[in-house]
Amino acid sequence: MIRPHRSHPLWYAFLLHRVSGLALVLFLPLHFYVLAFALTQPERLDGFLRWTDYTIVKLAEFGLVFLLAIHIFGGLRLLALEFLPWSPRQKTLAASAVAASFLVSGTFFLQAV
């Protein structure tokens, strides 16, 4: 499916950044919506937070934090690429960003269970 001119790590890094950004845009309104219950219907917020104890929801949460982490570290990578002197180790940087994302979201997951 991935066309031949795209089959290299830095293009995947771009794709990951875009997909994570897009997913965050979709999730964020939901997040805001739920938090706003605190004002209007505090009991529903609590209900929602309790609901987060379920494993599936835990996994989803992990996914979300992972996306956020991916996007942040990916974004850091891009900002460094754009604003710091050029580094020839672009692939390493991209890999590090992914690794850092796993680390952070993994920690979150372990704490949460």
Binding site: G21, V25, A38, L39, D53, V65, I72, L76, T107, Q111
Partner: protein, 110 residues
Amino acid sequence: MLDLRLYMAQRISALIMIPLTLGHIAMMIYAVQGGLSAGEILARTQGSLAWMLFYGSFVAAVSVHAAIGLRVILFESFKIKETILNALSWTVFLGLLYMGARAVYAVTAL
């Protein structure tokens, strides 16, 4: 479709969010230990001007950042015309800002 001004807005908002989101994640990692409850969260945040500023600036930044980000994706994937694109971007921006502001107000006002 980015020109210099949109680019700057997106990059500056990203820079602002870096400490905020990292702080938020660290917070969450700390807070989720043993499960979340509304009471816990609200106890920490309600009535705190610091938290209001913290999350308030995140909401402002992310509204700008995400609206521009979405604009680019919409343009590149769907070749949407500029006028419609502008309208969409503003809608996303204002929508996020409104929802975000409400959420911040909910968790940080007394």
